[in-house]
Symmetry: D2
Subunit: 356 residues, 4 copies
């Protein structure tokens, strides 16, 4: 591949923005040319504007870049959006209208009819919805799911294909990084559990219907799947754990379910996307695994781990799934979306022709 | 009440034994006359034999008592057993055969036909099973449920009475103290979740059937209730949180379910048992409550807290329940059992005739 | 004592304010008549205006009281101030000028010449500084020390009396509650240590000089003691641990130092103040004690725990001290100050004559 | 370099042993040919014999290797010892006597006169002590320091060289992994601090004298440095934090001390040892840094991080130092020692002549 795509990051100094910076460090296709944030940060060097919360150093390639104000006009071929929901709606639309492809992690456009809600291994064909968008000639919006949804849907996809899934009960144990920074007060969560995450359960009810839906002429035909979620915050840094019970349309033994997980073939495996993990799904047989602190980062945070597959006394099968919420569930998922868009021809050097 | 009952504690130096000591401090009816432990501890003063893990000082009344070896012959009217399951079976039987009433927190005899598995507010009539025991003239065994079971069953009881309960999905987030001491390694659980607790799910499947069953001429007629549990260990000190979905036999709205919780009348309220809490159940309406660290100790650890009552997309109703696992779920539950036995005439000064 | 003093709490909805409410519940001398907070909270019931973070329920006596705006004119004989330093300076002065005694936990007036910085067991005579204040006829300000300082000074006082103390090296491991609410982000501190607390080290350098100083005709003669502090935040809820090395003016063995701690006589013991603990200092001999989670609440949070007394390779003696930072180090210390002021005749029913 | 050295690991299934396995994965010079453990594990595949506690998968190259009993005769050129102190003394000697070079992390031989206690960047010349050992023709023992000592000494070395260091006060906040597995009970440390670590303070007093000592004809001339340590366990996974105050022989400003840290030249930089970090020391200027969770793994865990350099009110200078206790402080330090030994000619293919 010739020169790299020039990438902007909206909300670059926030928690999700920092994760984009971390993941894009050394990316073979993308290079960060615009670190965009609020006016307060604009003009400062990234390392001075940012309270870097990662455990690896700020990549040298961006540490001294000057932060710009996040408005259309910034120098890049497309943008990743790590903006909070409160402002993402307006800002992302303004970028799309100004001709920028927007690869968003925000919640705002996920359930909008002509916006793809995308997991490349699950519903890559949904990107065709882009063709129906009318923001501008070149601008469009693509989204990735909520951080707990993505773990659920990656786990359900092989079961959907093999047996059909009708009903899901899911209780989540979600990590602190899902709440952003500063996010959850330490006084609220040290040695504690909070049995509520605002807005989370609605996303787990609705997003799977779209993600597992079928693309037709009239848009997405929602999947007929009923999800009943209960969401908890737990004192874990990274990695959402999901305790799942599922009713299948064709019944299956735990062994058959296990085989379905292991036999899942990624529909994009032949595209050689740099961020796609070797395995979408990893199955643990030891009963006390997977665990968020130990296994969430497997597959560089892009693999979803499955464990404890067994009969359910009420539905058909029970198991746990673990997803790295800030990688697969946020920045990493968005980067993989962008890579798919490259391969499918939706991203092109935007101002390159102009400036070259 | 005249002189206090003379109480022995089996496993007095362990985690559960320490909780017995803490709860019995200043008890109006019971005084500890025998702190029993292994031969290794026998002969030492309690404060020297015990690695006291509580956050209040060792009660002065027992600190200097000499620990005795836990075999029949120890000086007391009845014993509380905080023994681990590995040895409780044999030791408890030997005490019952030697004529001691055994109020046990261990798992061994819970599901035995003629042994009461007892929560005084739920199934007080089950103590009549004692009359069918044949260990000895005066000796018998009474048990309290597993620490997560008790939270589930206290929450289900009012629903059982009001609507009937057919099916339950429950995911637990369980505290570290449930594993005893030293129990869970800090390297395994700090900032982590372990999605497995050995033997726990079986208990949640089976014990509710007995607890909610009906005493008939042929013993307990098991309740027709199907429970599907998923158990997790979380980095919380005390307080098991349960995320529950239930299918009722007569459907009910969340408001009706809430009213059933609030309207529950304890069948033993008129007995004035010292350890019975003012309320068996406490209902929180704020969505982020209850929380283990903040609410598990309400009602001196004997109250079960309920929250987030709402419709379930799959079954009828969802809610969370919180139980203090080492108080209501262990030592406190056993002490309440003993108090009920006193009032019902099953405990009497054992060697009093001899010594008087 | 006849009717109780009518007490106002400034900053009643904040973390320190909540601790005042908790500690004053059932107080034999004081009753809360004014819960004061910002205009935003004024007019709401306390239970609605407050995100209650305690692990005991909101006291029934205040739950439904209506919060008032914290300006002079509120109905009370004196005020406790739990205000943050950013606004305490101005508000506390306005109350003192309006004739209210102000018992403050804030940092602002601690080092002001004619304001007592008070630990009743350490420097009760310093309250005479009140006589030199000129805010108004009846109004004055009294302060308690910073939460880590109070632990250090309570531990040093017996050594100062017995041997003199010249030099102190102290490294602190401080709890999260010292930072207020929401305070420290969970992402910053879970499984982590932050080796810095803004402004804390200066307080540990300076406040001991005043607390251990001598009241003379010209005010406080500062103690000649050099303190070198290093302050760390650790993932502990309550209880600041201090690792102390001290150079004494007269050398002493660890045994003599231990005896000095145990032999300390409180100069106010005969006043029977309700909040004074039985022991100011408690000495642990087991090497792994005291520990914040297990021992900070001993003596209802008013006792300072000492342990690991031993020779120092560099100075004379080393030991650790543990103080409950929100009780002895904040609200409890202020309440004890108020009790001393009552006994010494500095507090009187303020508007009683007017309203009676 | 031609074929790799064949390496044995004693205690391969334990916590330190696992870290050796992790660090040696893909090592350019060393390959593991013998995973040695107790008889109980011998004969099992490594992945079955080991409760793997790391957050990266077991390296594929060793997962299926069969564990051998750890006695002389195992197939390797030299051994790393991750044995616990209780058995390391005897086992390591038996290997040295059988002709194996032993690169040990255990405490047993550290202070023995003719055994090098080695940090390659600090005292590489001490390896000459090997020549005075008499275990056997080819066998010898080399040790690395205690995990907190190595952080202290790496930080002191530049100051020793530039100004001389006479006195050190150090308070440690030590991670859980330093206690091995299962190590510290979660009930003891969650939300808590334990102000004692058995044997740790003695090591901090004594080991620096040898590490900073001078090699002479009669062995090591101990450095004249007095260390007063206070050691605490904190709920952190990896990374020991040290709060250090030092008295220099030639006084220096914080700026000069900072310059000494930054100007330190590793005496082995030209050897290109694979495990030597780019920088032995990294200096942070932000006051709230370094932090164990965020910075301990910098330099792949081999860099020591310094921060908060400032004047001390009592001695000359204060600062904090952070060291990754299981990498630089254990397995990584031992591997670096082995690399130095290779370059200096002390390691050679042991049975190569036999097998070739």
């Amino acid at each position: 591949m010739r020169t790299k795509y020039r990438v902007g990051i909206l909300g670059a100094t926030g928690a999700v923005g920092q994760k984009f910076v971390e993941i894009l460090d050394g990316h073979p296709w993308f290079e960060i040319t615009a670190l965009a944030a609020s006016e307060r940060s604009a003009g400062k060097r990234y390392k001075d504007a940012t309270n870097w919360i990662g455990s690896t150093p700020i990549p040298a390639s961006v540490a001294d870049q000057v932060v710009v104000h996040g408005t259309p006009g910034i120098d890049c071929d497309f943008v990743f959006s790590g903006l909070p929901g409160g402002i993402a709606g307006e800002v992302e639309r303004s970028f799309a209208e100004a001709g920028y492809p927007v690869i968003s992690n925000a919640r705002n456009y996920r359930m909008v009819d002509n916006v793809p809600l995308l997991i490349p291994e699950v519903n890559p064909d949904h990107i065709a919805l882009i063709d129906t968008q009318t923001f501008s000639d070149d601008g469009f919006i693509v989204t990735n799911p909520n951080c707990s949804t993505v773990g659920l849907v990656c786990a359900l996809k092989p079961l959907m294909d093999a047996f059909g899934v009708e009903i899901v009960q899911v209780t989540t144990l979600q990590a602190l990084s899902g709440a952003g920074y500063p996010g959850v007060s330490s006084l609220d969560i040290l040695g504690n559990v909070v049995p509520f995450i605002g807005g989370e359960e609605d996303k787990l009810v609705n997003e799977p219907k779209k993600l597992l839906g079928t693309l037709g002429n009239a848009g997405i035909d929602m999947a007929d799947i009923t999800v009943s979620p209960q969401c908890n915050r737990v004192p874990v840094l990274d990695g959402h754990m999901l305790c799942i019970s599922a009713k299948l349309r064709t019944s299956a033994t735990p062994e058959e379910v296990r085989a379905a997980f292991l036999g899942f073939k990624s529909p994009i495996a032949d595209l050689d996307l740099p961020t796609e993990p070797e395995q979408l799904l990893q199955v643990f047989d030891a009963p006390h695994q997977p665990q968020p602190r130990r296994h969430a980062a497997h597959g560089r945070g892009m693999t979803v781990s499955i464990g404890r597959i067994r009969d359910c006394e009420v539905l058909d099968v029970k198991f746990v799934a673990l997803v790295h919420n800030t990688v697969r569930g946020a920045a990493g998922g968005a980067v993989l979306n962008a890579e798919l868009l490259v391969k499918k021809g939706y991203l092109k050097p935007r101002h390159a022709a102009v400036t070259a």
